[in-house]
Symmetry: D3
Subunit: 187 residues, 6 copies
C-alpha cells in the first residue's frame, strides 16, 4: 500500500490537536469596532443561518424618482461579510430608470440578469467608457471611477453588483454637494 493512501485510510480518526478559531468573523455591532470593521460575534453562537442572506428574494419594484431600487448587502446589513472584503448589491431598474453617477473606493463588477442597460464610467482623463449590455454581460468599474447605469431597454432590468469591500463607502455626488448642515453662505 502506498504512503499517500494512508491519508485516506486513517485520517478520519485523527486530527491536529489545536483547533483554529478564526474561520470567520461575523460582525457584532454591539461591541467596540475598529477601523477594519466590526468585532466578531462569539463563533459558538454563529449558526448556519448566519451565512445565508435572503434579502434579494422576490420582486423589487423601483418606486423612487430615479426609477431604481437598490438593495445593498453590505456588512452593516449582513454582518457575516465583516472582515471578508467582499459584498453585493441588487439593482432593479424601471424602464428609463437610472443609478446616478457615483464612486467608491472598491472596484465593482456588474452582472446583468434581466433587461438591457447602458452602463459606463469616466476616468480621470475625462474619457467615458460606456456600453450597452445584454443579459449575461458583465461590466467592470475600476476602483474610484465615477460610474452610472441607465435602463435604455423597453422592459425592467435587474443586475447584481459585487464589490471587493465589506462595507464600501459610497456617495451620491450631487446629493452630497448639498449637505443639510452646511450654512447658507457656503452651500
Amino acid at each position: 500500500m502506498s504512503n499517500l493512501s494512508i491519508f485516506f485510510v486513517f485520517c478520519f480518526f485523527s486530527t491536529l490537536s489545536h483547533a483554529i478559531e478564526f474561520n470567520f468573523c461575523v460582525g457584532d455591532p454591539s461591541l467596540p469596532r475598529g477601523s477594519q470593521g466590526y468585532a466578531c460575534k462569539d463563533p459558538a453562537k454563529v449558526t448556519t443561518d448566519y451565512f445565508v442572506y435572503t434579502g434579494f428574494r422576490g420582486e423589487k419594484t423601483p418606486n423612487n424618482v430615479f426609477g431604481n431600487n437598490v438593495t445593498l448587502a453590505f456588512s452593516n446589513v449582513f454582518p457575516t461579510f465583516n472582515g471578508l472584503g467582499i459584498s453585493l448589491a441588487r439593482l432593479d431598474f424601471a424602464v428609463g430608470g437610472v443609478i446616478p453617477i457615483h464612486s467608491h473606493c472598491t472596484s465593482e463588477i456588474l452582472n446583468l440578469v434581466k433587461g438591457s442597460i447602458i452602463a459606463g464610467f469616466i476616468d480621470t482623463n475625462n474619457i467615458a467608457y460606456y456600453n450597452r449590455l445584454e443579459v449575461g454581460d458583465v461590466m467592470v468599474f475600476p476602483q474610484a471611477m465615477l460610474h452610472f447605469q441607465i435602463n435604455v431597454g423597453k422592459s425592467p432590468a435587474t443586475a447584481y453588483v459585487s464589490l471587493n469591500g465589506a462595507n464600501p463607502t459610497l456617495q451620491l455626488t450631487p446629493t452630497s454637494l448639498f449637505a443639510e448642515n452646511l450654512p447658507a453662505d457656503i452651500a
Copy 2:
C-alpha cells in the same frame, strides 16, 4: 451667489493640469508579470470593449461527470480584472449536479439565480455549515474554507459566484491528490 455654486458654474471649463495615469491596469500576458499580477497593457490601446465580458451569455449545458458547467471569469481569461482584486464565475448544474469540495484563499459569495441547491462549507473545527438555497439567496464561503454545492432540486440550477481576488488559486482536492507526475511509490 454662494461660494459653492461657483463649483457648478465654472468647473466645466477647467481641470487640474496633471492627469493621473493609473485608472486601471488591463493585464498584458505578453509582458513580464509580477507576483501581484500582470503588467498593464498600454492604456491608450484600451477601448471600452475591454470592460465588458460576454462569456456568461446564453445557455451553459453541464456535460461533465459532475453534472456541472463552470465558466470562470478570472484575470487569466478576462485580463481587465488584473489588479482589481475581484472576479466572477458562473455555475450551471444539471439535476443532481455537484461542484466538488474545494477551497481557495479568497472569500466567495454565491448568488442563486435559478433552481434550488444545497451549498455548504466545513470549518477547521470540522463543523459543517450548509443550507438549502432558493432563487435570490446568497451564501458566503469564508476564505480558505472547504465548500461544495449540490443541485438537489428537480430542475437545472444556475448561480454566480464573486471572489475577492483577480485570479483565485483553486484546487479540486481529490484530483490534486493524484498529480500525474507523482511517482507510484508516493502516490
Copy 3:
C-alpha cells in the same frame, strides 16, 4: 568591557555579506508597469538628486477660474514616490479662491501655512464637517469623503496636503459629469 560595547568598537569594520537591493524603487515610466505602480529604475543610476523635489519653490499665482493653483507632487510627476505610498500637493488660493469638491481613495491631511480658509468634508450620512483654519492648523479628510477648501480670508492662502498614496486617483466631480466623449443622449 561589556558585551554591548563591542558593537561600537568593532562593527565599523564589518557588515553582513549579502547586500539588500530594494531600498527604493524610483519609477521608470519607460518600462512596463503593474497595477501597483511603475517598474523600478536601475538603482545604480539613481543619484541623490532623485530624492529632492523642487517644484514647490517660489510663488504660485492662482490664475484659473477657481482662484486656485494646485501643484501636485504625485508619482507621475516625481517618480521617486513610486511604491512608497505617500505623496504631496501644494495648494495656493487667491482671495475667494476655492478647490472644488472632490474625493479620492486616499486620506488627505491639510496643513495651512499662510492665510485663513474654510475646509470641510461631507460624510455618507450627508453630514458636513467644516472648520475655519488659521496658520498652523491641520485638517483631516478621511478616505473617500467629498471635500473642499475655500479661502475666506482677506489675503492669499497656501496649504500643503499629504496623501497616503503615491498616485492618488482624483476626480473633480462636476467636470467628470460631462465627459467629452459621452453622446448627447446620455450626457
Copy 4:
C-alpha cells in the same frame, strides 16, 4: 431633457436607504485596541472639532541638547488619524540643530518651509544620499532607511514631515542602545 440631467434635478430629494457607518474611526484609547490601531469612538459623538489639530500653531523654540523641537501629530496624540494610515510632525531647528539619525517603517516626506538644512539617508549598501534643501524643497526618506537632518543655515529652520502610518514606530538609535533596564553585564 437628457437622462443624466435627471441626476441633478432630482437627487437632492432622495438617497440610498442604507447609510454607511464607517466614514472614519476616531480612536478611543479607553477601549480595547487591536494590532491595527485603536477602537473607534462612537461616531455620534465625533464633532467637527475632532478633525482639526491645532498643535502646530505658533512658535516652537528648540530647547533641548540637539537644538531641535519635534511636535508629533501621531494617532496617540491626535486620535483622528487612527486607521487612516497617515500622520504628520513639525520639526523646528535652532541654528546648528539636528534631528539624530533614526529610522521607522513608514516612508517620510520632508517639506522645508523656513531656513536651510542638510537632510539625508543611508541605504543598506551604506551609501548616503544627502542634499542641502532650501525653502519649498521636498525630500523623501524611503521606509526603513536611517535618516537625519541638520540645520546648516544661519537662521532657525522649520519643516513638516508626512509619514504613511498613523502611529509610526520610531527609535532614536543611540538612545536605544542604552535601555535603562538592561543589566550592566550586557549593556
Copy 5:
C-alpha cells in the same frame, strides 16, 4: 567636532517627548476580537516572558496513526504572535511518518533539522514538485498549494516550518470531507 558625533555624545540624555504605544499587541482572548486578530493585552502587563515560547523543548514522540507529532505555535497557543503576521510549527516524524496533504492561505517554509524526508506540493495545473531533503535543507510551499511530507529515511526526522500568518487557517483535506454534523444523505 563633527555634527554627527553630537548624536553620540548627547542623545543618551534626551529623547522625543511623545512615546509610541503600539510596539506589540500580545493577544488577549478574553476581549472582543476582530477579523484581523485578538485585541491587545495591556502592554504594562506584558513582561519579557511573553516573548519566549518554550513549547518546542524536548523530545516529541509521534504517537498517532500518521506517525507524526505536530506542535503548533500559532497565535491561539502563543498570543504574542497576534498581529505580527508570522508563526511557527515543529514537525516530528517517526520512520515512515507522514503529514497528510493539506493547504493553507499562508506560504510555508520547511527547515529540516534531523533525518531525511520527501516533501512536495501540487500546483493548480496538477504538477507535483517534490524533493528528498537532507538536514539543513529548506523547502518552500507557496500559499494555497496542497502539500505533504513523508519520512522516507531510516530514523526519526524533525523539521520546523514558518508561516507568514499569526493563525493560519488549516484543514486536513480528507478529514474535512467527513464533517461530523453533515447529514447522511449528503456525506
Copy 6:
C-alpha cells in the same frame, strides 16, 4: 451511494477547464522589477529544484570580529521567496559571539537549535525585553524593534530566524552611521 462520495469516485477524471497561472513567482533579476519584488521567471522553466534551498547545509564557522556567521536566505539569494512574503536566515555564534543590535520592518522569530544565548529587544519606551534561551526556545522580535543576540554559553550556538518579508531591509545601526560617502564635515 451518497452525493459526496461521487466526488471521490469521479473527480479523478475531470477538472476545471481553465488552469490558473500564478501558483508562484520565482524572481527573475534580469527582468524589470517593481516595488513589490522581482518579475516572475517563466513558470514553464521552474523545476522542482527551485523550491529547495541548500545553503544552510553543513557547518558554518563564525570567523568575523563579532564571532558570528550569518547566512541569509532572502529573495535576492533565493529568488523563489519572491512575492511569498517570508524568508529565513541561519545564525551561528562562536562562544561570546554577538549579532549587533539592528532593526528591520518585518517581525522576526528566532528558533534556537544549539547552545544557549541571550536575546532581546528594546521598545520605543526604552524598555528592554531579554531572556536567556535554551535549545528549543523561540523568541519573538516584533517589527521595527531594535534587537540583538549574544552567545553567553560555553559552546557554539545555532539559531534559525524567520522573517515575514521576502527581502527584509536590514541595517546594522552603528555601521550605517559612518556611511563611506558622507563628507567629513557631516560625519
